[in-house]
Symmetry: C3
């Protein structure tokens, strides 16, 4: 049941692309079988199937708000192949568990950086029988639970140089000709579009972001004008806005009480240019 | 970790329109960081975006079945504007936390009425940095957690007259010419349509509700006959029925093993007239 | 609060076809009111409406991975009718609670068989008022919680011969003319299709299942070739594969990084024939 003298029960967050079926519950069951008092917090299981980048970005945005603990994340199109199962110990003291396909690194960055990484190769911490298609249940969940219960990080397996961990290429932003070239990083459930870059990048490209200042936003299917504002209701319902998104920590485009993604046919990876109007 | 001598860990229910993304998890993480042993019960995060009334009605129907505790609800199209963040102490002893836009009042009514209300204006109970677009995480969730952990209601901020709280206008029912004029309050996930009014209203309009008695139901896109029955299987599969809905506590129209909303193209706010057949 | 001396808090798993609305939360609230420290594990509430077989199969696949406990399952198109509310004590020591419509039996088989069954007829274990349309809340959830809290199995009501419990007819597999005739048992959220039968049945029909060996798969809307492989990534993205599915424990057809159900228009109950290519 974990180490003694603990103030709070162990915390495990859990993110997958498994959807609304019973796979996440099976993994929770496995974890509770190992560490019965764990607080298990489903981050989301609605990551688009096989969307490692979408999972990585959401995980990175969520973990800073969680108690220090174990973060289990599985978006794993390479399950059963040579891709390494790993765990990363972070600067803040959290441990990330999942496949080495780039899913975990952005979250590690938000938690003080990857201090140490280990390959999962200690079968004593796995289920007795390991399948070829469900490592979340048979390897990752039991390892996460054992870690939450007090197993030492160096019992997992051989150290892996953190520089060798797979890294994702995410859309980026760049300043050019008095505007910001950016890409769509993520579309949230409201249809708000998180763009690559921070407000400070837009400021660097175009000057001070005074509330109400208007911008021209060129997208693949639409060119619009939108003001820089503090919050949704600073524009009338149905109007677009540029703002600093609190959930996904950066520059974003939305429509007050509407869906920017739907209205402007925006998808992840689409390129966007923002210039003074 | 809350007040001492407590028999059960604190209970926090949690309802939003945030959908299947990671925002609810972030709020749960913030709450567990403050009150590590809380039982957090997601009511639903599938409220239609910005549908304050749908959220209010579902919350009101759910809270009577929860242990006495804190109920956090956020459907908040006015986030970051002057709408007040509030908490309501109820007759039963529960505390409701959310925006003052009508979302919380029907639930307060079901819990013995609003005994006292406070504006949330004590930043010591919030996150250090409060964003303009995610008050659920930065204000409401931490306040709910502190309350669950034992913070006194009067520490939240100034008292607000309960009569000044924003009130929603919900579809209503009225007796007219030997029938009941009603409106669709809610469509549930089965497509069952909860109508304004109680069985007693239909009885007042038309006389005793004997099982099997037939009614004419006029809707915008269809006019049908349906019997008053006790439960779904009292009619054959595919047949409509009028009944006393247990989940949403009142008069309802359904189709046995089907969706009344789909079949009769019924939506919230549609007007329905029920008369003896 | 359950029996004394317990090592871990009681475990209750919970499966329904209630969808994303607030009905599951209401049941969790009722259970926590009775057994405040229960670990409640939602299996899934996304079973297709009224799909008793889909619920039964998923429940059966999930329960072996859960701690010994109470498993509450409600897919109940006959709510309020004469169908019996029951509980089944299994060989492993778990108790299954739900309607006697076949939903629980396959899970009992996976847990060591149905050792004993009882009809739920002790109103002291129900809510004070029992509705006609929401027995999950008023009967099944409170009984499950009382059992998790230590109520003895024989307090539930009269014993029911286990042989009298309703049994479902699931698609089956049969060996014929050097091939396997099978049916689609389940389509998961990835679009992977679990077929009736085990790899050993295919082996019996066609000989040794060497990795890479190719088969002809005849479906209602498509005839394809697919290799027998160990895991998804053994074929290139977009290619079909036959494999031993770990989640649903048996023979399955998938498309690497795609949906077999969508691509081949496969649905539950469709017949499939597999022969050597």
């Amino acid at each position: 049941m974990g180490s003694l003298g603990r103030a709070a029960p162990p915390f495990i967050s859990f993110l997958t692309d498994f959807g609304a079926d019973n796979a996440p519950a099976v993994c929770r069951g496995v974890m509770w079988g190992i560490v019965p008092d764990a607080r298990i917090c489903d981050v989301t299981h609605a990551i688009a199937k096989f969307d490692v980048r979408g999972g990585a970005f959401r995980l990175a945005c969520a973990v800073p708000y969680f108690p220090i603990g174990v973060h289990l994340a599985v978006v794993d199109p390479g399950v059963g192949t040579a891709r390494r199962p790993i765990a990363i110990l972070t600067g803040r003291g959290d441990i990330l568990v999942g496949p080495d396909n780039g899913l975990l690194r952005p979250a590690a960055e938000r938690l003080g950086g990857a201090r140490e990484a280990r390959q999962l190769e200690n079968p004593a911490l796995w289920r007795d029988h390991v399948s070829d298609t469900f490592h979340a249940r048979d390897v990752f969940a039991p390892v996460a639970a054992h870690l939450a219960g007090g197993t030492r990080f160096d019992e997992l397996g051989a150290a892996v140089p953190t520089a060798s961990l797979v890294e994702l290429v995410l859309p980026s932003a760049s300043v050019r000709d008095g505007g910001l070239d950016s890409g769509v990083l993520l579309v949230d459930s409201f249809g708000n579009c998180r763009l690559a870059g921070e407000p400070v990048d837009l400021e660097r490209a175009t000057g001070a972001l005074d509330p109400g200042r208007r911008f021209r936003v060129a997208m693949p299917s639409a060119v619009i004008e939108a003001p820089w504002v503090r919050t949704f209701a600073d524009v009338t319902p149905g109007q677009p806005l540029l703002y600093d998104d609190a959930d996904y920590a950066g520059l974003a485009l939305a429509v007050n009480r509407g869906s920017a993604a739907e209205r402007f046919e925006l998808m992840v990876d689409d390129r966007v240019r923002i210039e003074p109007a």
